[in-house]
Structures are given as structure tokens and as C-alpha cells.
């Protein structure tokens, strides 16, 4: 029998999940498997990986089970809302499991069933796709998960983060929510995804109604309006502040630092003078714990986003590119080191 040219949708058995229901289901699924549900991070990031809930929590030995949606901004990917498959800002659903359970793949597959994908009726493949972020000094080994040839998930075993070798490693599952929703709802354009449906009236709100304007305006800003000189200036300022914080942390707490000894002295003198018997080391540890490494990380994220904006504006030549990436990487690595050291106190 000759194949019909493009078959009509055979999927719709029951009404497919709306965009927000998809998020609910995934949240519920992972919450039921012991994950803490976190809210999206409120600084611009290019991917869920950059949220401190991933970037920092994968460091060190402490077990982690956390899941969250993360709107992810990639200025260069904007298409003025004209391309049905590309977005400036898309939504990732991120799951971090440290250490990864032995049956992590099976649990992941069960999560697909939970969002209404009957695996018996689909073709699923795990195809090699190793993830690497030069700006974060991070990489991992893994797959892109293909459902009927559609990439729906990036599955990664994190090996290194912020230049630090991880032990134990973390399993990272990143779902592309727009793609999955478009697949479930069988729409050809992301903007046609039903975001919400009023259960009483049945009235629907589409993804386009919620986000099209944003895609258009941010594409204009990212590609045309953002002032290149100011972006560079912002980048320099954020970088300088981040560097200053990291330098201050290093001066105060790095074990090989001479100043640390001085500081011990001073704190000790002061304490002795005040007649307090608490050992000086305790006080230094307290000082270290309250040091705003997390603030430094936000500054690093700002730099990363500004780099992406400059890139979208075509303001970074290929030659410069490597240099700027190295600068941001230095910040990320510095933060990761400081954060790890801070955990060890």
C-alpha cells in the first residue's frame, strides 16, 4: 500500500496536555520520586544547567534531588517570532540527581509515560550526544533522547563542572518543554501550543498569545537595539565586581594565603581583647560561610548573558570570542572553587 503523503494526526485519543499541565505532570512525577521542586532562577541564563541549583549543587559530595523549570534565554536563537520552531527564550525542565540512581534511564522513561506518551506506540532511541559548556568549564557524557526522531531530552552524566572533577557525578535530565508540548498537541508551530485551557468554558490560551510579543521585541532588542558599547561596559563592570569578590575571597580564605594568617591574628587579638574564649578558627569559618560567593555567581551569570547579547549583535569577532569565553570561564571556575572550599569549612 503506498504511503499517504503526510498522515493526519492519529494521536488524539484524549485531549493532550496543555503546556502548563505538562509542567505540572513533570513536577508531580519528580516530586513523587523525592525531588525538591525549585522555582526558576531569577537571573538570565542560557540553560537550566546555569542555574545555581545545578551549577553549584553538583559540586561536592552532598546528595541532591532537585527539579525545576528554567526559562532559558539564547539571544542569537531569536527569530522575531517568525520561525515556528525557534525561540529566543525556551523553557527547560531540569532534573538533577546526585548520585544518579542505577535505574535512572528507566525512571526517565516512566516520566514519559506520565506525560501521556505510551512508549509501546513510539520509537525511542538514546543517541550519543555529549554536552560541553566551555564558558562553565563543564562537560558530561550522555545522549539526546529521540522520540519518533524528535529530540525531546538531553540526558547527561556530569563529569566536570567549573573545572572541578565531580565525585560523585550527577545525572542531569533536561526536557525541552515547547518541543514536547508541540509533539503532544501535534501542532506545527510552537506558537499554536495550547498553554492553558479553562476547564469550565474550554477557552484556550495559546503559547503565541502569551509569548509572541516577547519573542518579537526581544529579537529586535537583541539583534538591533541593544547598544554594543554599553553592553561591553556592562560586561566589564560585572566582570570587575565578580573578580573583586573572588579576589577578596581568595585573599581571606585560601589556605596558602599569608593574609589569612594575619587575619587569624587580628581576629584572635580582637577576641582575646574582648575576653571571648571562642577559638579564632571558628570565627574565620563563620566569616567564610557568610562570604557572598553566590553573589559572585550572579555576576558571572550576568557576564554570560551579556556575552550572548554581544554575540547576537554580531559584535564579537571569532578571534575575540575565544578570549571572552575564557574570561567568563575564569569567573565560573573561580566561583566553583570558592563555593567548594566554602562547603568544606
Amino acid at each position: 500500500m503506498p504511503a499517504t503523503i503526510t498522515s493526519s494526526s492519529p494521536i488524539a485519543k484524549t485531549a493532550p496536555l496543555t503546556f502548563q499541565e505538562l509542567l505540572f505532570r513533570l513536577q508531580t512525577f519528580w516530586a513523587e520520586r523525592g525531588c525538591v521542586l525549585q522555582q526558576p532562577y531569577d537571573v538570565e541564563v542560557g540553560a537550566g544547567t546555569m542555574s545555581p541549583d545545578t551549577f553549584l549543587r553538583v559540586l561536592g559530595p552532598k546528595p541532591v534531588s532537585i527539579a525545576y523549570a528554567q526559562p532559558s534565554r539564547r539571544p542569537a536563537d531569536g527569530r522575531y517570532g517568525e520561525n515556528p520552531n525557534r525561540l529566543y527564550k525556551h523553557t527547560q525542565f531540569q532534573v538533577i540527581l546526585k548520585p544518579p540512581p542505577a535505574d535512572i534511564q528507566e525512571v526517565y522513561l516512566a516520566s514519559l509515560e506520565a506525560i501521556g506518551i505510551d512508549l509501546a506506540e513510539h520509537d525511542i532511541k538514546f543517541e550519543e550526544d555529549n554536552w560541553e559548556s566551555p564558558t562553565l568549564g563543564a562537560w558530561g557524557i550522555g545522549w539526546q533522547v529521540m522520540l519518533d526522531s524528535l529530540e525531546i531530552t538531553q540526558f547527561t552524566y556530569f563529569q566536570q563542572c567549573g573545572g572541578i572533577d565531580l565525585d560523585p557525578i550527577s545525572g542531569e535530565i533536561t526536557y525541552g518543554l515547547e518541543r514536547i508540548a508541540a509533539f503532544l498537541q501535534d501542532v506545527d508551530s510552537i506558537y499554536d501550543i495550547v498553554w492553558a485551557r479553562d476547564p469550565k468554558t474550554g477557552r484556550t490560551v495559546t503559547y503565541g498569545e502569551i509569548r509572541l510579543e516577547e519573542e518579537l521585541q526581544f529579537s529586535v532588542y537583541n539583534f538591533e537595539a541593544a547598544e554594543v558599547e554599553k553592553l561591553w561596559e556592562h560586561l566589564r563592570l560585572y566582570e570587575a565586581e565578580c573578580q573583586a569578590l573572588l579576589a577578596s575571597y581568595g585573599d581571606s580564605f585560601s589556605p596558602e594565603s599569608e593574609k589569612q594568617a594575619d587575619r587569624h591574628e587580628k581576629i584572635h587579638d580582637r577576641l582575646v581583647h574582648e575576653g571571648d574564649a571562642t577559638p579564632a578558627a571558628e570565627d574565620v569559618r563563620a566569616q567564610q560561610r557568610r562570604f557572598p560567593v553566590l553573589g559572585a555567581y550572579d555576576l558571572c551569570l550576568k557576564c554570560s548573558h551579556l556575552f550572548n547579547l554581544l554575540d547576537a549583535r554580531g559584535a564579537i569577532s571569532v578571534t575575540e570570542r575565544v578570549g571572552v569565553i575564557a574570561r567568563i570561564r575564569a569567573l565560573a571556575v573561580g566561583v566553583a572553587k570558592a563555593y567548594s572550599a566554602q562547603r568544606n569549612t
Binding site: 500500500m1 503506498p2 504511503a3 499517504t4 503523503i5 503526510t6 498522515s7 493526519s8 494526526s9 492519529p10 494521536i11 527569530r79 517568525e82 520561525n83 515556528p84 520552531n85 525557534r86 548520585p99 544518579p100 542505577a102 534511564q105 528507566e106 522513561l109 512508549l119 509501546a120 506506540e121 513510539h122 520509537d123 525511542i124 532511541k125 538514546f126 543517541e127 550519543e128 555529549n130 558530561g140 557524557i141 545522549w143 522520540l147 519518533d148 526522531s149 524528535l150 552524566y157 563529569q159 565525585d167 560523585p168 557525578i169 509533539f183 501535534d186 506545527d188 554580531g314 569577532s317 571569532v318 578571534t319
Partner: protein
């Protein structure tokens, strides 16, 4: 004799790594069994794999090693026994060998008398050895990229190890690797079978057990099923056939445990996109096979290889899903195509200033300028030699050749650079000559690819590559050993292939001519590099014998087509005994001349006929001069076969000369005259090849 089965279960192994790992595991297991004397006579080794497993089945393993009788040699007899009494040295040796003192014997060797003991070693059981040795073999498997997964990082492997199956017939071999203990269990297809373990009762049941659980572990069987599936699915479209793609068949074979083939379609309107773009999307991005109609034109269908066996309804769902994805991809490509037309190639030349070619060498704009200079010089040379060439089309193509690097379509489909530029040039009405040249600029990428079909394309391809090579050499980035990060060897191979297989009247000397003043110093390095590339081409691509290649290269290699012709005819002449004999004589001449020069003899530039004393030398001189003229004439017409046949006719004269004439005589004048004669013979006939290089033995 028992069968040994080993299966290692993994999370999905990257498809590209499976075949080499499967072969290596089979080799390691066989070598281990061999080393440990556990292979029976007529044993067979079979290996299997799927994305989730590697397996080896060895039929005809011995259950245990045969016992060994060994003769151990100990200390010298004098040290071991004093006055007939055993010393501590004798006791220690007896203990080590596990025998009584009384069992020690004397052996006389060249070095003297020593203590010896006959030892009976009991063979160990195969299971024991395998349990002990196999984990090391598994740990040693090579993977291009490894990972850690267990806390404490005890081992690295390609992906987490999930299970081990190890059986000698029906008995479990209790080995352990990566924290996993071997059992008699395996696992079936993730979806079609589910998570339940399967018991393999006996090693010989392995394939059959897996087959019941929807896993075909035999790779060749899977490949065969895929090919048949592709044929069957295509048959439903009258007159159609699927486009053969061995590499893709290989990939999908290693991506599936239970492959089936699905035929899908797409809207015919997408066929207005260039075929190159459609095929790249299908093959490289979706791993689909393209379908062509009876006229070999692309048809609006594709074939996807699934890793499942869908039921009736699911078949529709999966087809629909795949069609959706492809449509989105095609839409993307169409979007990029239309978007790119907003800025014509002409206006993109300036944009190349911000695309770096190489940090020290500047942008692609700079490179384009350098390419233009080279192409201009080569074009003039070609025109001067009477070949037809549209120079303005060529220079236009060179100027625009790299502009597609700034297009969205190339950013999305990097493998289509050049091709996209050519298609855009055509769409923008820049003329077929320009479009073709840009389109073909990166061909040949490999030695099996065709060269550009037009003269303009050939010159562009040569100029672009030569610029890259000479510029990289100029900043010291020439390839070293196995390292060639900029692909310069491949670039030079491309030049050699174009020069060798086109009709372009160009030689490597013409390329050398284009070097700027400051790069003149690179000449010798560059030519040594190109000599290697021509050698590679003659030997590995054209398949000429190494001695023939050495011989013709020694006579020059600037003109690649000429060196090919010389190699071809020289190789053909190797069946002629006369020719081989002359070659041997030339070797002798070379040796005599070398020896003479080592002794400080001076070889005059020409012979003095009056000084000839022997008839044989007079004849050789006369004959050589006659043949020389004939050979020169034939050589200018590249009739090397005839020229070589002429040279072969020298045999009786050369033989007679060496038979009757002594070169290294006392009389200096006579000796030097003879040296001059043989030097003349050698040099006269060395323009085709250095025949002394030909192996004649």
C-alpha cells in the same frame, strides 16, 4: 568441549564505537584463552553487539588447562650439595618446585652442572582463569570517550555497566567487573520486552533467547534485515528505490536492537528546495534514507529505521511523528534559504572581515584576497598555454567563494559549505560558471570524491588549498607526525588529485611561482611535503608498487599527470626481462660512479671517442646516443612505453660492455673516459625514472 559466552550489558553505547569495541573484545577473549591454553582444536569465535550489549561466544573451549610437565633448573650442583649433603639452597629450590630433596637431579649444561627438578603442574579450570583474568580484559577495552559513574570513581568505561552474563555451557563464571557480578541473566528490548530479566540456560541458547525478547544480537543479521526492510518499504512506491548509503546503514544497524523500516512522506512543495539540502537534512540530521524515482530524482518520501516493531495503530503514530519532525526541519531550511536571500553574496564579501580564518592569518576576507592573487596567476598560465578559461567568472567565484560562511543555512548545515554558496550564486543569477566553481570548491574532500567538473572550479580548488597550505607553513603550522589539525595533507591530496585527473596545463612549479617574496624560503619544505602527497597518491590511490613510485619520483614530480604516465608505463615494463636487466645495470653504474667519486675520481662531462679502446665501449656509446635521441623524442610526446622499450634495447650493449670492459682501470684517462660514458648512459635515461630504484631481484 564447552562453549564460553560473555555478554556485557551497558546503557546505550554510541553507535560509532560499537563495531571496533566488539572486535576488540572478541580478540581479547580469544587471546586470553589462547594464552591460557584453553582453546580447543577447531574452536570458533563469534561476536555480537547491540546498542546495549557486547558479546562473545567461543565454541570449543577446554574445561581446564592440560596438566604440564616442567623441568625446572635451580642452583649449581656445587652450591646445592656439599659433601653429598643438601645445602639451604637445595632445600629452598626443592620447596619452590614442590618436590622432595630426593627428587632433585643433576643436569649438565655448557655452563656446568646444575640442580634440576621435574615438576607436574596441574592445569587450572577455565572458569577459575576466566574469573580472574577477564575483568582486566574488560577494563582494558579502548573507548574514544570514557566516563565515571560510581562514587569514588573506581573505573571508567564508555557508559555505566548494567549486567554481566558469563557462562561455560550452563555454568555461571562468577566474574565481577565494575561492581557487577556475572549471572546467567540478560535483558531484552526496552519496550517490546520490558524490564524483566531473561535466563540464558546454556551458552548456545544466547541468540535464540534474545530473539524471543526482540533483540537481534547478530549484527550482520540486523544489517540484512534493515536492507531487506528498506527494499520492501520502498516497493510500495512504484518505480522508486532508496538511495544507497552504506555509512547510514551501518549507523542505524548500531542504533537498533530490533529494527523495522518505516516509509514516510513529505509535501511535494519542499522539492523546490535544493536536493543537497533535503538530502543533508534527511541523512545527517534525521538518519533517514532518501528515496528517488525511476529517473533518479528525489521523490517526496523517506525511510526511517525504527528500533521497535509497531503495531498497526502505532505505525501510523510513528509515521506521523517522523513526518512532523522532517517538515519542521524542512521549514527551517526554507526559512534560512529565504532569509539568506535578503543579503546577496556580493554584499557578504565585506562581512568576511569579521570571520576569522586563523588568528595569525586574519579573516576570510584576507584569505580571499590571497586566493585571488594565486588564482589570477594560475589563470594567466593556463590561458597562455592555450586552454579555454573564463577568467572573469573564475575571479568572481574566488571572490565570492567564502561568503556562504556568513549565511544562516551554512551555520545550520556546516557540511554544505561551498554547495550552498554555489546554489545561492545560481539563484542570484551570477552565471553558471561562477556557481559551478563555488559549488565544487571543496571537492574532492576524500580520495574517492570527484574533482570539480569545470576548469574554473579546478583552479579555485587548487588556489584555495594552496593558499591555506602555504600560509599555514608560513607561520610554522605544518603537519607533524600524526598531527594535522588543519587538514593540510588532505588539502594537498586534493590538489594532487585535481592536477592528476584534470586536463589543466598546470604543474606544482606553477604553484611554487605564486609564492610571495617572503615565502620563497618555504619552497623546499613545501615541495618535500608535496612529494610525500604525490607519493601517497601514486601508491595508495593509484596502487603503484613502491619501487616504481620511488623511481619515477626521483625523476621529478612537478607535473603530476606526467609522473602518473611514467609510473604506469614503468610498471608495465616490469614484465620485460630486457628492461629489468637494464635496470640492474643502471644500479651497477650508479654504484661504480659512487665508488669512483668517493675515491676522488673526476667524471668528465663528455666522452672523448678517441680514447675508447674496446669495441664494446664504442658500440655502447654509439647505441646509447641513437637511443637517447629516440627516447627524448618519444618522451616529449609522453610515449613512455615506447621510450622504455627503446631503453630496453640497450641490454645487449650494456651487457657486452660490462662483460668486456673494465671501467676502473689504472690509466686515469681511459678510466675517466669510461666513467663519463656510463654517466652519460645513466643521465640520458633518467628523465623518465631512476631505474636503479626498480627492484629487479
Amino acid at each position: 568441549m564447552p562453549d564460553f559466552l560473555l555478554e556485557i550489558g551497558l546503557e546505550e553505547i554510541p553507535a560509532r564505537m560499537i563495531a571496533p569495541a566488539q572486535a576488540e573484545l572478541a580478540r581479547r577473549v580469544e587471546e586470553l584463552l589462547q594464552r591460557e591454553r584453553l582453546l580447543g582444536v577447531g574452536h570458533e569465535v563469534h561476536s555480537y553487539s547491540t546498542p546495549r550489549r557486547l558479546a562473545v561466544l567461543v565454541k570449543g573451549v577446554t574445561a581446564a588447562q592440560a596438566d604440564l610437565e616442567e623441568q625446572l633448573t635451580g642452583p649449581s650442583w656445587k652450591v646445592a650439595f656439599r659433601d653429598g649433603q643438601a645445602t639451604p639452597a637445595a632445600l629452598a629450590f626443592a620447596k619452590k618446585a614442590g618436590v622432595e630433596i630426593g627428587a632433585l637431579a643433576k643436569i649438565t649444561t655448557a655452563k656446568g652442572e646444575y640442580v634440576t627438578a621435574a615438576v607436574h603442574r596441574k592445569g587450572r579450570a577455565a572458569a577459575e582463569i576466566l574469573t580472574e583474568q577477564l575483568p582486566k580484559e574488560l577494563a582494558s577495552l579502548y573507548w574514544p570517550k570514557n566516563m565515571y559513574w560510581r562514587a569514588g570513581k573506581p573505573e571508567r568505561f564508555v557508559r555505566p555497566v548494567k549486567w554481566l552474563l558469563a557462562l561455560l555451557d550452563h555454568a555461571i563464571v562468577p566474574l565481577e567487573f565494575a561492581g557487577v557480578h556475572a549471572a546467567n541473566l540478560t535483558y531484552g528490548h526496552r519496550i517490546l520486552h520490558g524490564d524483566a530479566a531473561l535466563t540464558v540456560e546454556h551458552a548456545e541458547n544466547y541468540l535464540g533467547t534474545l530473539e524471543t525478547a526482540h533483540v537481534t544480537a547478530d549484527v550482520e543479521l540486523r544489517r540484512h534485515r534493515i536492507r531487506k526492510g528498506l527494499d520492501t518499504a520502498t516497493r510500495s512506491v512504484p518505480g522508486a528505490r532508496w538511495r544507497e548509503d552504506e555509512a547510514l546503514v551501518d549507523t542505524v544497524t548500531h542504533l537498533t536492537e530490533w529494527p523495522t523500516v518505516l516509509l514516510g512522506g513529505f509535501e511535494a512543495e519542499y522539492l523546490t528546495l535544493p536536493e543537497e539540502v533535503l538530502v543533508t537534512v534527511m541523512r545527517d540530521h534525521q538518519k533517514y534514507f532518501a528515496v528517488e524515482d525511476a529517473q533518479r530524482k528525489l521523490a517526496p518520501y523517506f525511510l526511517a529505521v525504527l528500533n521497535t516493531q509497531p503495531a498497526e495503530r502505532a505505525d501510523e503514530i510513528i509515521r506521523h511523528g517522523n513526518e512532523r519532525v522532517l517538515r519542521a526541519r524542512f521549514n527551517d531550511a526554507r526559512f534560512f534559504w529565504n532569509f539568506d536571500q535578503r543579503i546577496p553574496l556580493e554584499s557578504r564579501v565585506e562581512m568576511l572581515k569579521s570571520v576569522t580564518f586563523q588568528k595569525q592569518l586574519g579573516s576570510y576576507w584576507d584569505k580571499t584576497e590571497a586566493n585571488l592573487r594565486i588564482a589570477d596567476a594560475l589563470a594567466d598560465a593556463v590561458i597562455e598555454r592555450g586552454a579555454t578559461l573564463d577568467k572573469s567568472a573564475l575571479l568572481n567565484a574566488v571572490r565570492l567563494a567564502k561568503t556562504d560562511l556568513t549565511t544562516e543555512l551554512v551555520k545550520e548545515f556546516t557540511e554544505l559549505q561551498g554547495v550552498v554558496g554555489g546554489l545561492y550564486a545560481r539563484a542570484q543569477g551570477l552565471g553558471e560558471g561562477v556557481a559551478q566553481a563555488i559549488y565544487w570548491q571543496y571537492s574532492p574532500a576524500g580520495m574517492d570524491d570527484p574533482i570539480p567538473p569545470t576548469v574554473e572550479g579546478q583552479i579555485l580548488g587548487i588556489a584555495d588549498r594552496f593558499q591555506t597550505i602555504s600560509a599555514m607553513f608560513g607561520i610554522g603550522l605544518e603537519p607533524t607526525g600524526s598531527k594535522d589539525p588543519f587538514g593540510l595533507r588532505r588539502a594537498a591530496n586534493g590538489i594532487v588529485k585535481i592536477l592528476g585527473e584534470s586536463k589543466l596545463p598546470l604543474t606544482l612549479a606553477d604553484l611554487r611561482e605564486t609564492l610571495s617574496e617572503k615565502d620563497i624560503g618555504l619552497q623546499s619544505k613545501l615541495m618535500a611535503f608535496f612529494r610525500e602527497r604525490v607519493e601517497f597518491y601514486l601508491r595508495d590511490v593509484k596502487g603503484f608498487a613502491y619501487d616504481v613510485v620511488n623511481a619515477v619520483l626521483a625523476a621529478g614530480f612537478d607535473d603530476v599527470r606526467d609522473v602518473i604516465a611514467r609510473a604506469k608505463d614503468s610498471e608495465a615494463m616490469r614484465t620485460s626481462p630486457d628492461f629489468l636487466s637494464v635496470c640492474a645495470s643502471f644500479k651497477r653504474i650508479k654504484n661504480i660512479l659512487n665508488q669512483a667519486m668517493e675515491k676522488g675520481d673526476v667524471v668528465p662531462d663528455s666522452v672523448v671517442p678517441d680514447r675508447f679502446a674496446e669495441k664494446a665501449e664504442i658500440e655502447l656509446d654509439e647505441r646509447a646516443n641513437v637511443v637517447k635521441i629516440a627516447v627524448e623524442k618519444l618522451s616529449t610526446h609522453r610515449q613512455y612505453r615506447a621510450a622504455l622499450e627503446q631503453i630496453a634495447t640497450l641490454r645487449p650493449h650494456v651487457d657486452l660492455f660490462f662483460d668486456k670492459v673494465m671501467v676502473m682501470v689504472e690509466d686515469e684517462a681511459v678510466r675517466r673516459n669510461r666513467l663519463a660514458l656510463i654517466a652519460m648512459v645513466l643521465s640520458s635515461f633518467s628523465s623518465i625514472a631512476d631505474f636503479s630504484e626498480i627492484v629487479t631481484g
